[in-house]
Symmetry: C2
């Protein structure tokens, strides 16, 4: 396996403990350390929706993710740079990872035209034409002041033919080289490569090799959790997660549900992001150790209990299901605030418990207990 360490910037990833393939580590960046396995709350438009940044931090998030696609369109990367960078703009001092926009130009924008050069696309806000390519994506992420910059990749639909997914992967690898070249021109942040290749192990392997040949400060798995069954995703992780350099963080993009995360950690993944806890919070779904709880269900109308009597989050300590049901039904903003708080607390507590389990070499026991409780369903009716 070829491996060149081309880092020019201070970056330190310490593996502190392992349990099987699972690792507990610390990624030390200038704006703060990230305890791994880590969950990154999503702050798409320069806000983790319905949360004050101080509260996101207090729940244990060491890093958040922001979206290049959204921010380049509104308010624009130049404005943010002029205002002192994304951290200052949004009042978040800790590290920020920015995605490259590659996924959103496929999933969100109107008609897009792709070539080897890049992607022309229409803004989903106003239909205006924009252009992204590896060079431009990296430039934008640097202007934002991102701590972890992602390569610009080509994302194929998981329903595409293998031949199309192969072409898309190869293009992504060419774009990874261009991303790296652009990244190396100026100081700033870390650069992560993104593996592609759909559900095909041979394509994933080729992708991994090509990324390692270029050399990145971290490695992400892209194009997973896009609709394929969980066991297919786990199969890819089994085959490829441990092929990345041992001493670099591994990031599974856009994942996921609590059981996705637990299964991916077991297979050697260190970092995650997902809109699930924040989006579910706004649509009235609480994520708990006993599985999801839909607060809009009328069974909660008279329920004086918190979402989870064993949860110590602000929401569970102070509000009943009955109140949460009421404010959700009433369309009150505090519904999103309280439910999102609970969900992000649950995710960060899950990550903390996972880290403890790995340190104690008890990850399998933890997962068995976790799965049993997840499947036990919500509390009985009062």
């Amino acid at each position: 396996m070829l491996y060149f360490n081309l880092n020019r910037f201070p970056m330190d990833f310490k593996i502190k403990d392992t349990d099987g393939k699972a690792r507990v580590g610390e990624l030390i960046l200038s704006r703060g350390s990230i305890r791994t396995p880590a969950f990154m709350p999503v702050g798409t438009q320069a806000t983790v929706k319905a949360m004050f940044p101080e509260n996101v931090k207090s729940l244990g998030a060491d890093i958040i993710l922001c979206n290049t696609y959204h921010l380049m369109l509104r308010p624009g990367e130049n404005l943010i740079k002029e205002l002192g960078g994304l951290h200052k703009f949004m009042n978040w001092e800790k590290p920020i990872l920015t995605d490259s926009g590659g996924f959103q130009v496929m999933s969100l924008s109107g008609l897009s035209k792709k070539s080897n050069e890049g992607v022309e696309f229409q803004s989903h806000f106003d239909g205006k034409k924009h252009f992204l390519n590896p060079e431009y994506s990296i430039k934008i992420q640097k202007k934002l002041g991102s701590d972890i910059i992602m390569c610009f990749d080509d994302c194929a639909s998981f329903k595409s033919d293998k031949s199309d997914i192969a072409l898309s992967m190869k293009r992504s690898m060419e774009w990874a080289v261009r991303s790296k070249e652009e990244f190396d021109l100026t100081n700033g942040g870390l650069l992560f490569g993104i593996q592609q290749g759909g559900i095909y192990e041979d394509l994933r392997e080729e992708s991994t090799k090509r990324l390692i040949d270029v050399g990145f400060q971290g490695y992400a798995l892209g194009g997973l959790a896009v609709g394929e069954p969980q066991n297919q995703m786990f199969k890819i992780l089994d085959a490829s997660a441990s092929k990345f350099p041992l001493d670099k963080p591994r990031y599974l993009m856009g994942v996921g549900k609590p059981d996705d995360i637990v299964g991916a950690v077991l297979r050697g993944v260190d970092m995650f992001d997902c809109v699930l806890p924040t989006r579910s919070g706004r649509t009235g779904q609480a994520l708990t150790r006993r599985g999801p709880v839909n607060i809009k269900n009328s069974r909660h109308k008279y329920d004086y209990r918190p979402i989870d009597p064993d949860c110590n989050c602000y929401t569970c300590l102070n509000y009943s299901r009955s109140y949460l049901h009421h404010v959700f039904k009433s369309g009150e903003i505090i519904s999103s605030m309280l439910m999102t708080w609970h969900n992000l607390h649950y995710y960060q507590e899950l990550m903390s418990n996972i880290r403890d389990a790995i340190i104690n070499k008890k990850l399998i026991e933890f997962i068995n207990e976790f799965t049993k409780l997840q499947n036990s369903g919500d509390l009985s009716l009062i």
Copy 2:
């Protein structure tokens, strides 16, 4: 002037200082003291919109207002009572004043049928028929666990003829007697009477006399700030505020804009409530010592300054106008959270400054300075 003190419950209103007709006082209730002149944030549906209760408290609010009309319809007063009362339900330990529903059955509900007995009305949620009268309104407010209960009154449109307003006032006075009789049946809270009579001094005077004959623990002025010019409202206050018993709090319902409040304090009013700071917060209007600032205006797009550089609120200490403009334009929940925070901070700071000015016998100077600054307009462009 007849005045019977019929209080059976511990209630203490201390006037600590005066400056002209203006008073600084303290209304001591079992759940906490209210520093007057006081502004009560509005928590219509058991939440001060877009705010955590702890933050409302930290801004200096000693009491909030909740709406009987909304809560009886959803989730219902019996549910709230079963869940341990409104304070516990909404996680607010300090005093709560509830209005009687009289104003909302006129302004919000569908077709309503009034008689001397009470009001039949249609819910604005689902069109279902409901009924309110003095006895029922007081019962609901007691079930909610309100600290300050309002008499059920008949609210006429300010555009009605004097004869209609006179009839409406007389009905309100009959309902005040019935409210008091119902109130006296069981322990709990304080009961405030509500003066009516539109913009007619003679009707207001009759109303005041009849209320004092019954005897209440506080006196409210209703049917003002409903569309009449400010000078007409001030004329009524000039004529009638000081006719209420000196040793009882006076509450001007639904008021108001900062200059309404300042002018009403000068005329002897002690308590206020208004949706303006919270509603404006959600529609992108900041209220400041230099007057309103519309954050959606494109002049703020690149403005690195806070809403008010002299303001010490969380929002002004941590976020630029540019950021607030961005999150408002993006429809982000944090826009409502941050703007509401600023506005409630501004209101509570205004009340604190008013109290200080009265204590220092400098209310007139304060008002002159306040008016000058309000009229100076927003900061110059950067």
